[in-house]
């Protein structure tokens, strides 16, 4: 599969210990990419997240730096954005723009080039890594503050961030025509819930509340400004147990 062709085999879990200290987690294929190869690690990580999320997130380290998980999130998330943008262009060409139904005004005319046409497509593709990066930080901040409010943030901000980065694996489902975006979005939520439960050692109900409540109450629409503010609160309180 990869340049070196070696398959990732997580080490066997440590035997149960009477100590209360948390056991070290074996790691993910992506964080072992130096040994098993970049492409192998990318493919294997994506497959494991998509098909065996519980075991993946149980083995995911909750510390050790955000660079690796962020790189994974950017790569897979960008792929999803690019595929979705291409599909949108194709359907727009076939069916016409839905943006036109929003009416006409100076403001709309100003932003129209950013939403439609080849220029919009190029912008989306070029800026996709930046949007994915910003999105990961903002979404993590929002979810983490809800975890704090629900008493579920047993590990730090980094644990939540890592879960969100690896949950980006759902973005590959954008390759499904027509309903790929919907499936991808829904599965991202499922992965995030499973991941948060595993990373923070909390119940899936608490994890689900932390992921779903922002969708209902914050709407996740207001340009990220409010979300940043909530993110600030999350980070300031990042040591709350």
């Amino acid at each position: 599969m990869g340049p070196q062709g070696a398959a990732f085999e997580p080490p066997p879990p440590a035997p149960p210990s009477p100590l209360t200290r948390p056991q070290p987690r074996p790691g993910t294929p992506w964080e072992d990419r130096g040994r098993i190869g970049f492409v192998s690690a990318l493919v294997e990580t994506t497959l494991r997240v998509l098909t065996k999320p519980s075991s993946f997130f149980a083995s995911m380290p909750v510390a050790g730096g955000i660079g690796g998980p962020l790189l994974y999130g950017i790569l897979v998330g960008t792929l999803g954005v690019v595929v979705a943008a291409l599909y949108r262009e194709i359907f727009q060409a076939l069916l016409g723009s839905t943006v036109a139904g929003l009416g006409s005004s100076d403001e709309l005319r100003r932003i129209m080039p950013f939403l439609m046409g080849g220029f919009g497509l190029v912008l989306q593709v070029v800026f996709a890594p930046i949007f994915v990066t910003l999105g990961l930080f903002i979404v993590t901040a929002v979810v983490h503050v809800f975890l704090l409010m629900l008493g579920g943030a047993r590990r730090g901000f980094e644990a939540t961030f890592r879960v969100m980065c690896y949950s980006e694996a759902a973005a590959v489902l954008n390759v499904v025509p027509l309903c790929g975006g919907l499936i991808s979005g829904a599965y991202f939520l499922v992965l995030a819930i499973i991941g948060l439960a595993g990373a923070h050692g909390i119940g899936k109900g608490t994890a689900a509340a932390a992921v779903l409540l922002p969708l209902v109450f914050l709407c996740c629409c207001c340009a990220g400004a409010g979300l940043l503010a909530f993110g600030g609160l999350a980070s300031l309180l990042s040591q709350v147990k």
């Binding site: 409010m149 008493g151 709407c219 629409c221 600030g232 709350v240």
Partner: protein, 148 residues
């Protein structure tokens, strides 16, 4: 020693401590950078003056969501209109303004490989949690009353 007592020693008698943690994530700087980018985007593209609502919650219920007014607050902050920003969404405006000193502190510490972190003892953490929930609820009530 109990966990509570150990936490009190770590955080001091007030129940909280600001620490420059070696190797910590400079989250304040990251979020402040994102806020600056967002402010520039909102101001340059006039995203605070869209002729339609982008809030699904408001569209569906007629009530503002807890972050409605944040984009307009961000635009006002970009133009240094602090009162206007606070009127649009007090909690969002306060949070975004808090990012400035936090981000600056993180940037100052970055050269030494450290990041600012607030550590709370158990009692302070409980109080902070209650305060955050109360602030979000009060902010939302204000948004509904003000018709944001």
């Amino acid at each position: 020693m109990s966990a509570d007592a150990a936490a009190r020693l770590e955080t001091g008698p007030a129940g909280f401590a600001l620490k420059a943690v070696p190797g910590g994530l400079p989250l304040g700087a990251i979020l402040a950078g994102i806020a600056a980018l967002a402010a520039a985007a909102v101001a340059l593209l006039h995203l605070d003056a869209l002729p339609f609502t982008v809030c699904v919650f408001k569209f569906a219920t007629g009530w503002p969501c807890a972050t409605c007014g944040s984009t307009r607050a961000l635009a006002r902050l970009f133009h240094a209109d602090l009162a206007g920003a606070w009127g649009m969404n007090p909690l969002a405006a306060t949070g975004m303004m808090a990012l400035l000193p936090w981000g600056a502190a993180d940037l100052a510490l970055l050269a030494r490989g450290r990041a600012l972190r607030l550590e709370l003892g158990p009692a302070a953490a409980r109080a902070a949690r209650v305060a955050v929930v109360a602030a979000v609820a009060a902010n939302w009530a204000y948004l509904v009353a003000a018709g944001r």
